[in-house]
Subunit: 382 residues, 2 copies
């Protein structure tokens, strides 16, 4: 099995791109990554996307985008694992390189959510949850996360205000990321005042609906060592039941536990070796649960890391260093690729004011649904 | 790169399964394949599906199905390439084994189209075509194929009746396949009488809307040689523009040409070595174009193979040996897996009255859209 290197990264700013269609957005990220890698062709494109069928009336993104960027004839397909689609596509790209089937692979995460009318988006996002046993009962995706947050507050006797630190951290980091959707800091007072969406989740607990595309160029590490920007030290996927009521314990993200452990074993590392963590902070509660499942905090103590400032850039485990889903934005099928692009920025010293000093090992964890699919990548500096 | 073996196959009958939900249908195919392979666990599940978001309100099938068949904790995701989704998922499964990342992999193709209301299905199928440049102009997917068929008839001076042989052949083969949706033979006279859908495509040129699931168990050939039922000799994907008007030549399926040539090169074979061809006969015109693109007939001569009886079981290049998309049925995201399951039936001498005598090498070609994604697999007997 060949080691996999990342030799190029590209991303569009995250936001509402009314002036660009889905294919144009993907084009911009892919062209940026190909320029970054100094390549003019690739053999395959794996597209991470969740909602194009529902929101853009367009499936078949693999061929659509590969053709649009001038790569007619190559291999292409779409990979979907709800909000974990981006990292799942990276996983497929890594297998294509590791297997020896390809030498240059593009992985593009893309989501275009702005153009949808009315509450199409809420319904489309709910297809990540169990249609027959959850959604048919009328619950939305934010509603499911609200149940988890309420349960966390109850079981561990945590006040809602305790979660403010995640939002404050994300917005502080996003302020220095030119590609972030939200670039203004948020105070704890603003968090306390934010309008409620699904009690106890308020507006500032929630990542935004937005558009964005990010792209990686993957290649075999042995052949491309001189051009490598980072190495994929581990790539691991694990699943749990979609329905929260079917879980062993709703407050333990078993898929994140298993996915993290697989990744640590593959990279021969422990949580102590991880210098920053790009978490899937779609909602604040997911940050707390992820930190616990990945081994950075004991059960019920994830939220304390945010209260104690341990998740800041200079802290024990810097979290969502470029703004995370909350402030950079969460174009769902693109998010997992953004996380890895940002990890590469950290590992190459290109994270600007958000730079984690001396970062050589980072972890990115992309979650589909409310924890049903978890994709963990550990990235290393060259 | 490790060679990949198929050690188990499973399929449900194709039809209208009103009594089973999507997850139950997938379950039945997966359990059958696991029993066939004598395994009780697997490390990964790749699901080929196109329409679950649109027709079943359910994305995230990887986790949903893996959990439902009792495999919580494994890797799982969905792969989509329009009607080529099934074979694209097989391609990903093959990479997972070839790379050494997994030892036992399930690939399940699943589509549940019956439950959709009204003309949701026609709209959903059109997401395989170019939304911005084709579908927005009001054309349906069958309409696009009708344009191709009309052009073929015009350019090569072929009468509509010349296509009857494809339908007659498919139904003759489907009659002996217990899993086929249509098990009654169809005459040329019936073809001539069939109601028009989109001139010149009539009802008997068209594959049906239906439900079905099929599954393969993949494993490394070296380690599982004694249990191997067939070997994947080649696996190749190529893309073309979604929009037909963007193609170099609308009557040449360039992606099928490239995908076939990649596959022949990988397997070190030529069309002369292929003993049967599971073609993507979603519409009769696709059979003709596929036979030409894959090298079995010169340009404009594909339809003659059907007229001359060369595509029958005892003919020069037996086509759609278990009924094909036309008679076995075309549950879109499942079709590519059905084709390979049926190829394994041929290669293991289990094709019953449809057995191609002494078959040791067969080819399956799954097409997404009207030729924009083409996935070719060449399978060999052990």
């Amino acid at each position: 099995m060949r080691d996999v290197a990342i030799i190029g990264i590209g991303q569009t700013p995250v936001g509402e791109h009314w002036e660009k269609s889905l294919r144009h957005l993907a084009h911009d990220a892919i062209m940026a990554a190909m320029r970054d890698a100094s390549i003019e062709a690739a053999e395959a494109l794996y597209v991470g996307n969740m909602l194009s069928g529902a929101l853009n009336g367009q499936e078949h993104l693999g061929a659509l985008i590969a053709d649009f960027v001038g790569l007619r004839g190559i291999e292409a397909m779409k990979v979907e694992a709800a909000c974990g689609s981006g990292a799942a596509a990276v996983r497929v790209g890594a297998m294509a390189i590791a297997s020896g089937m390809h030498e240059l692979v593009l992985v593009c995460g893309i989501e275009k959510m702005s153009d949808a009318i009315g509450n199409l988006t809420t319904g489309a996002l709910a297809t990540a949850a169990d249609q027959e046993y959850e959604v048919s009962q009328g619950i939305s995706f934010v509603g499911l996360n609200a149940l988890l947050m309420r349960r966390y507050m109850h079981e561990y006797d945590v006040a809602k205000e305790a979660f403010a630190g995640f939002t404050v951290n994300a917005h502080r980091n996003g302020a220095h990321n030119p590609n972030a959707m939200f670039r203004s800091p948020v105070s704890e007072a603003a968090y306390a005042r934010a309008g409620m969406i699904a009690d106890p989740i308020n507006l500032l607990d929630s990542s935004p609906v937005c558009d964005g595309a990010a792209c990686l160029v993957l290649a075999p590490a042995d052949r491309y060592r001189s051009r490598a920007k980072a190495l994929i030290l581990a790539s691991a996927v694990a699943i749990d039941s979609l329905a929260i009521h079917d879980r062993r314990d709703p407050l333990v993200l078993d898929a994140a536990v298993i996915s993290s452990q697989k990744a640590y074993a593959e990279a021969r590392l422990t949580p102590a070796n991880i210098q920053f963590f790009e978490a899937h902070d779609a909602f604040s509660i997911m940050s707390a649960l992820s930190l616990e499942a990945a081994g950075f905090a004991p059960r019920g103590a994830g939220v304390r890391l945010a209260q104690d400032g341990e998740i800041a850039i200079g802290g024990h485990i810097p979290l969502s260093t470029m703004g995370g889903l909350k402030a950079r934005g969460h174009p769902v099928g693109a998010t997992g690729v953004y996380q890895i692009v940002e990890a590469v920025q950290q590992l190459t010293g290109q994270a600007g004011q958000n730079q984690v000093a001396g970062a050589t090992i980072g972890m990115a964890q992309n979650i589909g649904g409310s924890g049903a699919t978890v994709v963990t990548h550990i990235l290393g500096a060259v």
